[in-house]
């Protein structure tokens, strides 16, 4: 087949294949910022205690796009890594292509069905068998604020989007940057998602952005969403384009900016900078989303390996990931909450407790929604189309009506 000869050309070029000794895992991920790197190091050390050595394969790029590109070329050339950081609908796509290895035996032995919530374990399975291990549950709809900046500006932490505009104006007038933002497409999309959930509510979010129902997308709620999203343009600073997410978080840490809308991985940055929650920074649900939980579950998917040693190393890694020790240490460093239910709460801080409570309550109330900005809700093509519209809208002065028309057209073209 032509694929094979292409693969031969790639394989010849990628003669970097190192001879792997017994019990080694090569893991592809994109966790390269301060808090994230610490979290990966914790997995590495717990695996090394089990005698499995870790070959790190980090590819930087906050949203994971570069890592996924590298993964595709490795997989096509017949030399996939042992495990890769794949999540959401992508797990199903890779499963369909036949690359993933089943770790169902490890899952059964350790009762994964019993310790994982249904919405999470469904995503980890392909055709009923576990092919991936969830590492954490991130909540994306957070607002991080510096209380000192608020105090100096005489503003209060906003709970609705209307209030947000008022408070942001106060902060701006006091000489601070109201909203710290990094002008990268995925970050624009993350803020857009928070506006969608805050303005439209969980039902609208699910209908329009998960089920892609055209009536919901064409409704007046979408106009309102774009109007609010457009009003945010005035509250970011001129240097935002191209800025990385953790640099924007550092603006809040340093007191240059009042707020950032970002997922709970931002908490890791505050932790690395030695800041304490409550005094140095505050975490609240993004405006209008206190009864909603936009989840982003990171997971490692396992690739079929021919070497028996690699297979046993994979199973060791899978078991370790869902173990209580790793789940606790990793999530303490990363800022997320354990995917595993029923863990001891004592070591986690108040933000994590809020998150855990919200996770359980929204699972029952229907406010638990997958994040479309982080590849949990819709396939890559649609997510990319939404990203294009959101980032183009945010960086131009397109009107709300035009934004809605572009969104509908783009989603239809991508389906």
């Amino acid at each position: 087949m032509l694929n094979r000869s292409i693969a031969a050309c790639f394989a010849a070029a990628s003669l970097v294949a190192l001879p792997v000794q017994a019990s080694e895992v090569e893991v592809l991920h994109w966790w390269t910022s301060g808090g994230e790197a610490k979290s990966v190091a914790s997995l590495k050390s717990s695996l090394e205690k089990r005698g499995v050595s870790w070959q790190d394969f980090a590819v930087a790029g906050g949203g994971g796009e570069n890592a996924m590109t590298v993964l595709k070329s490795r997989a096509v050339s017949g030399n996939p890594p042992t495990a890769a950081q794949i999540k959401g609908p992508d797990i199903q796509e890779w499963g369909e292509l036949g690359f993933l290895a089943s770790i169902d035996d490890v899952a059964k032995k350790n009762n994964w069905d019993g310790v994982l919530p249904g919405v999470v374990s469904d995503v980890m399975k392909y055709q009923g068998k576990y092919v991936a291990a969830p590492v954490n549950v991130h909540r994306v709809n957070w607002l991080w604020a510096n209380p000192e900046v608020f105090r100096k500006a005489g503003a209060t932490i906003p709970t609705t989007w209307a209030d947000f505009m008022v408070q942001a104006k106060k902060i701006q007038d006091a000489g601070y940057i109201a909203l710290a933002h990094g002008g990268q497409a995925w970050q624009d999309n993350t803020v857009f998602e928070a506006v969608v959930l805050g303005v439209g509510g969980a039902e609208y979010y699910k209908k329009a952005f998960v089920e892609l129902d055209m009536d919901a997308l064409n409704s007046s709620t979408t106009d309102e969403v774009f109007k609010v999203f457009g009003e945010l343009r005035q509250f970011i600073d001129a240097n935002a384009p191209g800025r990385d997410w953790n640099v924007a978080t550092s603006m809040v840490i340093n007191g240059e900016a009042g707020m950032q809308i970002m997922g709970d991985w931002a908490k890791g940055e505050f932790a690395v900078a030695g800041k304490t929650v409550g005094t140095d920074f505050v975490c609240v649900a993004a405006p209008g989303t206190s009864d909603g939980f936009t989840f982003n579950v990171d997971s490692f998917a396992f690739f079929q390996q021919s070497d028996v040693n690699k297979q046993s190393a994979q199973k060791a890694m899978a078991e370790e990931i869902l173990g209580t020790n790793f789940q606790e240490v990793f999530n303490l460093n990363k800022g997320s909450i354990p995917a595993r239910l029923g863990m001891a709460r004592a070591k986690f801080d108040t933000c994590a407790h809020d998150s855990m409570n919200a996770f359980v309550s929204t699972a029952q109330s229907g406010g638990l929604v997958p994040s479309f900005a982080h590849g949990m809700a819709v396939p890559g093509a649609v997510a990319g189309a939404i990203t294009d519209v959101a980032t183009n809208y945010f960086n131009s002065d397109t009107s709300a009506a035009d934004g809605k028309a572009q969104l509908v057209a783009a989603i239809q073209a991508a389906m």
């Binding site: 796509e93 240097n239 294009d388 960086n395």
Partner: protein, 300 residues
């Protein structure tokens, strides 16, 4: 004697065929890896491929989707703007620098080297350095404001309309030195007697350049345009480093579009279609130009 003749004819044969034998591996590699893969991409553009190649043929749907995508329109118009400006300005600056350097000045070697240095850095380094220089809070705008002009604004990098021109600036900075070197070599090869004849006829310096010397440099123009246009079409790393395609996707070029859609978005079909459209666009412009130039030079 019979033996001798036989041996000689084998040697003769070998001598005749040796160049072809040596060229064969390269030719084979080019045929497979260039034309073969171009054909493969073309075939891929007619399939339904998403994350990895899948051979379900679906006709022209990918091309329809491509032309309906507003991001592609932006990318193509950016390529035209960037290509024309980049080539025109590089040629102009290169020519002017070469003419000035040709005046037998002192320190010509040093100055020439300085102008050629930007060529030595990669596009990624150029893009990153210019990103810092053009950043409103760090670079030119801040420097001029610190000098006292507090209302000065130079925000092209973060402006949707003007971002593509920042790419032109960085690319021109990189390539003008190389064009200058080419023109300098061309100018040096112009026969002195022609210039003297022009001076005897009473031509001013400007007139002798415009009417005598520049027409002689036509082959150099041709080489420079071919090289510059291939740099312009290839520009991917410069955009990634300088603006990341932003703000939004305002400074996207077709190469970036193709990379994003084929590899990041799991829409390989559209990516392949965009690559084929890029190829045809380039051929449509370059082939007539090549034909007219090379046919002309064959005659002359």
């Amino acid at each position: 004697m019979h033996q001798n003749v036989k041996k000689q004819s084998v040697l003769d044969l070998l001598e005749a065929w040796l160049p072809k034998i040596i060229m064969a591996p390269t030719t084979l590699a080019m045929i497979v890896c260039m034309y073969g893969f171009i054909a493969w991409t073309g075939a891929l553009s007619f399939t339904k491929s998403r994350m990895l190649p899948q051979w379900d043929f679906v006709g022209f749907i990918q091309y329809e989707k491509l032309f309906a995508n507003p991001r592609w329109d932006v990318a193509m118009s950016n390529l035209v703007v960037f290509g024309v400006l980049f080539i025109a300005i590089s040629l102009l600056i290169g020519l002017v620098l070469a003419i000035f350097l040709d005046q037998k000045i002192r320190g010509e070697g040093a100055i020439r080297t300085i102008y050629l240095y930007p060529m030595a850095v990669s596009f990624v380094v150029t893009g990153t350095a210019w990103k810092w220089i053009l950043n409103p809070g760090l670079g030119i705008e801040k420097m001029v404001r610190d000098l006292g002009f507090t209302d000065f604004e130079f925000r092209w990098l973060v402006d949707q309309e003007m971002a593509i021109y920042t790419i032109v600036i960085a690319a021109v900075w990189q390539s003008s030195g190389f064009v200058m070197a080419m023109f300098l070599a061309g100018l040096r090869s112009v026969d002195d007697s022609l210039i003297k004849a022009a001076q005897i006829d009473g031509a001013s310096a400007w007139q002798s350049y415009w009417h005598v010397i520049l027409p002689i440099l036509r082959p150099v123009f041709f080489s420079a345009i071919v090289i510059l246009s291939h740099i312009a079409i290839k520009s991917f790393d410069l955009v990634q480093a300088l603006t990341g395609g932003g703000p939004g996707y305002a400074s996207d070029l077709p190469a970036n579009f193709m990379y994003t859609f084929a590899f990041n978005r799991a829409q390989m079909g559209i990516g392949a279609a965009s690559a084929m459209v890029m190829l045809f666009g380039v051929l449509a412009i370059l082939v007539p130009y090549l034909y007219s130039e090379l046919r002309g030079s064959n005659r002359g």
